[in-house]
Every structure is written in C-alpha cells, then in structure tokens.
C-alpha cells in the first residue's frame, strides 16, 4: 500500500511481529479486513514504528481463525471484534469475543467464504455486551441512554455503583453505526470526498483530508503548494472551533455558566468565519482528491478577523486558568496513566495529556505542516485538567499556524488532475482535533473505490475512557467525559 512499507506474512506470525514492535517502541494502530476478490478475506495490520516516518503494513490471509493480538496490544481488541462482527472472521483466544458493532441477531454483512470460518463459536457471545455478572444485592445498576438529557449523540452507558462510587462502567457506542465504510464502495474519488466529510461532522476537514491524501498516495498525485497551505489553514480552523467548543462544554460541566457562554460564542464566531471563507460552517465542499475544488481568498480579511479572536480566546483561557472552582473539579479527575494510555491506544490531546509526545503533523507531516512552526503541547498529569490545558495550548498554536499560513501563502493553482489506477491502494492520515485519523483506500478494477477503512480517533479514545471511570465517583463523571472531548459519530461510523 502506498504510504506504507508492506510485507506479506502468515497470520500465525503476527503475535511474534507484534511483540517485536512492542519491544522496539513502535505502536500497533489497527487491523481491518477487506475482500480483494469475491470470497477471499485479507487482514491488514497497520503500525507506526518508533523512529521511521514510514508506516508499516502487514497483510495475511488466515485460514480459519487468526491469533488475537489483544493480549499483546489491548488496543487491538476492538478492531478484531469489528472484523468479527462485519466479516465473520474469528480471532483465537480473544479476551472479549462478544459483539461490539452489530447486535447479536445480525449476520456479518461481508462474510467471505474462504478465510471466514462458518459458525465460528464466539465464546462469551451470549453475555449481553460483555457486562460483568452482578451478584451483590447492594450494587445498583444504572443504564443511561441511548436517548440522553440535552442535545447529545446517542449512546448507552451502564454504571454499576454503590452510593456515589462507580464500581464498573460500560459504554455501548454503536447505536449510531451507519455502515459508513461500506457506503464508499463503488463511488468515484470525488464522490467519496463528500462521503468522508459526513462521517464525523465536526471532523469534516480531518476526514476529507486523510481520505484525499490516501487517494493521492494511491494514484501518485502531487498536490499544488497553494492547496497544501490552504488545507493546513482549513484543518487549523477546524481545530479552533472544536477546541473552543470543548472548553465551553467543559465549563458547563463545572457549572461555570458565563464561561460556557463565552466558549460557545467564540466557537460560533469561528464557524461564521468558516462560512465566510468556504460557504460552509463545517468547512465542507472545498477539499477534494488532487487539491481543492476552488481557490479561496483568505489573505487580508481573515487575518484581521483572527487577530481580535486570538486575543479574546487568550483572555478566555486565562480566565479559566484563574477560576478555582473550575480547576478544583478538574485536577486529579479522570486520571489516565501513561502505560494505560499506551496500551489501550489513546490518541490526540488525550495521549498528549498523559505524557505521550506524538502528533502526526510533526511526526508524519502532511499538507504544508513540514514547513510550518508547530509546538506540540504535552502534559504529564493525565487528569482532566491536563487534557484541558493541552487543548488550550493547541488553540494558541493553531492561531500561530494560521498566521504563518496566511503570511506564506503563494499564488498558484489549487488542483491537479488525477488519473485512475485500477487496483491501487493508499494510506492517508491527519491529526484531527481528537487525534490520529487514518484512511486506507483500495480501488477496484473499474477505477472506483472498493474498500475504505477509517480509523477514527474517537474509536481509540472511547476504548480508553472507561479505564478512567472505574473506581471513581458519579459527581466527576460528566466532567471526565467532557474532558475527553469525544464524538460518537466518529466512533460508530
């Protein structure tokens, strides 16, 4: 696959490969399945090595069951379960083999004849959603959702608790599963961009950017410089409105009403600038495979508008920093240790708040990031406060990046034509406001999309989140959830 160093291996070799990767400080990112031809299922494992800028990809076609890597890389557990649900493939010795994405009564929509064992017995599949057994009469069970208070995305959360204390917490996040990856099949690259923008609305730019970069890698397309700079501009505007919303929402959970209003007002201002710049409050309809659909003219007016906004955002962040009632609720809340963050696959601001210094914009630069000054904020504490501080620092960093983009923006074309390559494959990535986002695309023989896999940051971070909830208390839950800043659309797809 373009964008990666690849190797074909036997499925039985994967545990050894995974252990070696762990020993050298690399990181397993995901596994997904696809059908290169009718009736054949192939697994693709993606990893980022410790030192190289190239991603690694292993492919294998297991006969029957593949060995589960969840014992070596716990974060792989959900990806394997997704493959089981959607493709009917089995993973041997999976620690939690019950359904994740689809209900128990739904057959795998992509069951392939060869490589997919018919009637693979899924041990534990009869345990509803993998909930622990409850045999203590004083432990109470609270199912909350999927329709929750306020305007929120649908998800169901199950709490086992005694008084204020949460003993165990389990989120069920796939009520909203729309089968988006499958919706790409058969589309042209241009139509696929419209689809990618609608996977996670508040991550429209990151999704379409990662998608387009995957297409461009597959088809060996060089995007013009001006388009690369404007793509970085759009990505940072997206980060701005997301992070401002995040701080406003976090303030609402600590009942800081004026701060909530101010954060959401600043978010609205950025969305209005987005619309002025692109015609869309979510910056949709601009990025397309090969560059941009049309040129943008941001130079003077946007820079002027952002000067005022930057000062207001800085003042807002400073006031939050000096609000003791707010900080008291965040400090030590929802602590995520570095080892758990690493094992369970935390990404984005969440991992950076737990001391893991990774950012795709710096480590695997795309768009114009290699030529832009980027400061990556990292904190060690791993609590809700650290997560808020990392995002607050990223707001200022985004303003600085945008300022530089607008200074360096050169005249030029913004689109390069693409020519179809039947059977091409490519990997694209972006550091979304929520973290690492990958798109893997496979073209069919007809030059249309055959398989698109999306590794979304919310899928990763929702996997991590429960580890910060077990053994905490109810009063902190809403604050902790807000401090992760996740979407469910991105997770469920």
């Amino acid at each position: 696959m373009k964008g990666t160093e690849g190797a074909t291996v036997a499925g039985e070799d994967m545990p050894e490969i995974a252990r070696a990767l762990f020993a050298t400080g690399g990181r397993m990112q995901m596994v997904y399945a696809w059908q290169p031809e009718e009736g054949v299922a192939e697994l693709r494992y993606l990893a980022s090595p410790a030192e190289s800028r190239r991603f690694l990809m292993w492919r294998c076609r297991p006969d029957g069951e593949a060995p589960s890597l969840a014992a070596i890389w716990p974060a792989m557990g959900w990806y394997e379960r997704e493959v089981m649900d959607l493709f009917g493939l089995g993973f041997r010795d999976h620690p939690e083999p019950n359904r994740l994405i689809l209900g128990d009564d739904i057959a795998p929509p992509f069951r392939a004849a060869r490589g997919a064992a018919e009637g693979v017995e899924r041990r534990g599949a009869d345990v509803p959603r993998g909930l622990p057994e409850l045999d203590q009469p004083d432990v109470q069970l609270l199912p909350f959702g999927p329709v929750r208070a306020d305007v929120l995305e649908s998800a169901e959360f199950t709490f086992f608790y005694v008084g204020e204390r949460i003993l165990h917490y389990h989120p069920h996040l796939f009520f909203k599963h729309r089968g988006m990856e499958q919706r790409f099949a058969g589309l042209t690259p241009t139509a696929g961009a419209v689809m990618a923008e609608r996977v996670s609305g508040v991550g429209s730019v990151a999704h379409v950017l990662a998608y387009c970069q995957a297409i461009e890698a597959a088809l060996s397309c060089e995007v013009p410089r001006r388009a690369l700079y404007l793509r970085a501009l759009l990505a940072e505007l997206e980060r701005l409105y997301n992070h401002l919303h995040y701080l406003g929402h976090l303030a609402s959970t600590t009942t800081l009403k004026v701060a909530e209003a101010q954060g959401k007002l600043l978010e609205e201002r950025v969305k209005q600038l987005n619309a002025r710049l692109t015609g869309s409050r979510f910056l949709r309809g601009i990025i397309t495979p090969g560059g941009l659909r049309r040129d943008l003219a941001p130079e003077r007016w946007l820079a002027d508008a952002l000067v005022g906004l930057r000062a207001e955002a800085a003042r807002f962040v400073d006031l939050l920093e000096h609000s003791d009632s707010h900080r008291d609720r965040l400090i030590t809340t929802g602590r995520l240790s570095r080892p758990v963050a690493l094992d369970q696959g935390a990404t984005g601001p969440v991992q950076r708040a737990s001391g893991i210094d990774r950012d795709l914009r710096r480590d695997h630069p795309y768009a114009a990031y290699a030529e832009l000054p980027l400061t990556v904020a990292v904190r060690e504490e791993g609590d809700a406060y650290a997560r808020a501080l990392v995002r607050a620092a990223e707001i200022e960093a985004s303003f600085a990046l945008i300022e530089r983009v607008l200074m360096k923006l050169e005249e030029g074309t913004v689109h390069e034509a693409l020519s179809a390559v039947p059977g091409a494959e490519g990997l694209g990535w972006a550091e979304s406001p929520r973290g690492t986002l990958f798109y893997a695309v496979h073209f069919g023989a007809d030059g249309h999309l055959k398989r698109v896999k999306i590794k979304s940051p919310s899928f990763s971070n929702w996997r991590v989140f429960p580890f910060t909830v077990h053994e905490t208390n109810m009063m902190d839950y809403a604050i902790n959830e807000a401090s992760f800043g996740l979407t469910i659309a991105g997770c469920a797809r």
Binding site: L102, G103, I106, P146, V147, D150, V151, L152, E153, S154, F174, F175, K176, H177, R178, G179, M180, Q182, R183, L187, T190, A191, V194, M195, E197, R198, V199, S200, G201, V202, H245, K257, V258, A259, A261, K264, L265, E267, E268, K271, Q272, A275, R276, T278, G279, S280, R281, F282, R284, G285, R293, L319, L320, H322, S323, D324, T487, I488, A489, G490
Partner: protein, 264 residues
C-alpha cells in the same frame, strides 16, 4: 480569581436581534441548495445527476429540463453546480427549507404559496418544548442544535426550550438517518410523549436518509417511522434555518417563503 459575572456584564449583549429585527442571522456566505433554472438546461445533458452523491437529482425525460430535483435528498455538496455546463444549476444561499409537506421539497416550476398557519395549535406559539433524538447522525446536526443555545442565537428568547424528558416535550426533533439500532429507542421516546405531540425531521438524513441511505445498517430517514409534521433538509441545517423552521411550525413565520434566502 476570575470575576465571570463582571466579565459577562462588561462584554455586553452578543445576541442577534434577528429574526425580530434586522437581518443579522449569522449566515453570511453560507451556501444552500442549488438554484435551478430549467430553461438553461442543455438537451440530453445529465452531468448533474451523474455527480449527485445522494440521488437528489434524477434524469426524467418529460420533466422541465429533463431532470427532477428533490431538495429533501440534497446534501448541499455543490457538486452539481460545479458539473453543470450551462449554469442551469447554480450555487445559492437558499438554506431555509422547513416545510410541512414532503412534496413541497420537490422542485416544481410553480412556487408554492407560503403557508402561515403553522403545524401546531396556537397554544404552543409562546412556549414550545423540544426533545431531541439523534437517530444516527454525523454529529453535524447536533453541533448546530447545540449552537442554538449559544449567546448569538439564544433560543430561549423565542420561548423555545430543549427538555430532557419526553414527558415534558411537545416536539420530537429527530436528526440522523434512523439506524436499525436506534429505531426502537426512537419509537419509545415518541410513545412516552404526551399528546398532542409533533415531529420534526431535521437534516437531510432524517428527511430522506441522506448520504447513508441504503446501507446494511440504516433505513431512509424518518419517513414511515413516525408521522412527520415538519421537514427541514440541510446538511446540516444551520442554526438560523432551524429557528425559521421552528417558527414556521408554530405559525410565527411563513414556511419556506420562496426559493430564496428570506423570500426577498
């Protein structure tokens, strides 16, 4: 120590006077549905239908210009306006499309008279409580619904409130394509509402299934699932479009006044 009260007071009022007074709806530059001029259509051309990713445009010999256009399926991607060689489809700022009848979202050569009677009894004009259910959205609609309570739009000033319990709700506002898994919780929410109860399909996904229509995990929106009193396509509908649709539902504003931004 931060003095938030002082800060809030010193910042002054951020709320727009629209729609009561003025035109500051906050949507400068927002692109809406394509505007269609069939007399400009070239015979035998079907470029728009070929690029439309959500099936909103279909080739129909005999129809004006040879195509039919369903705004209820439009995801506002603008691909048709770029593909159209003759300018028959052009970008516009027509984003206010809240209507009571599904067929009013189909383009037709004659403009429908703007209805002003509203879909709810007069008693709800001064106070409307909404229960929102996300039935499988991309979170874009939720982002815009949440924006309604930011200081710029400040929905409360219009006597419209979101409520946590369906027992207190007059209107069920549904977003998303209605996934198989959300069908039962959605119906249960509706069942729990006291009568009279009303339903609004907000966003193209809820109106017609949108971009996800036809997959293994979802249906085609709210049609046939619940009785719908107001349709508001858009991807997503912006906060001002939502406000206009809610006011149209209450009979405080005519529904989709014309194929234009504010009916100018």
């Amino acid at each position: 120590m931060a003095f938030w009260t002082w800060f809030g007071l010193s910042e002054g009022k951020a709320t727009t006077a629209w729609p009561g007074r003025g035109s500051e709806d906050g949507q400068q530059g927002v692109l809406g549905m394509p505007r269609y001029a069939p007399e400009l259509c070239e015979a035998g051309c079907s470029e728009c239908a070929a690029v439309c990713p959500s099936g909103a445009i279909a080739v129909a010999p005999g129809a004006p210009g040879g195509i039919t256009l369903d705004y209820g399926s439009c995801v506002v991607c603008q691909l048709c306006t770029e593909a159209c060689p003759s300018g028959a489809l052009s970008p516009s700022q027509d984003w206010a499309f809240g209507v009571r009848r599904r067929e009013d979202l189909l383009w037709s050569p004659t403009a429908q008279p703007a209805r002003k009677d509203g879909a709810v009894p007069r008693a709800f004009r001064r106070s409307l409580h909404i229960r929102h259910v996300d039935a499988g959205s991309c979170n874009g609609c939720e982002s815009e619904l949440q924006a309604l309570n930011n200081p710029f739009y400040n929905l409360h000033r219009l006597g419209i409130f979101f409520t946590a319990s369906p027992r207190f709700a007059d209107l069920l506002l549904v977003t998303g394509t209605v996934t198989h898994a959300m069908l039962a919780p959605l119906r249960a929410t509706w069942e729990a509402m006291p009568e009279p109860r009303f339903v609004m399909a907000a966003g193209t996904c809820a109106v017609s299934g949108g971009i996800a229509r036809g997959g293994y995990a979802c249906g085609s929106g709210l049609e046939g699932v619940l009785p719908i009193d107001l349709y508001l396509p858009g991807c997503p509908p912006n906060p001002s479009a939502i406000i206009m649709a809610l006011l149209a539902l209450q009979g405080r504003m005519p529904e989709r006044m014309a194929r234009d931004r504010h009916g100018e």
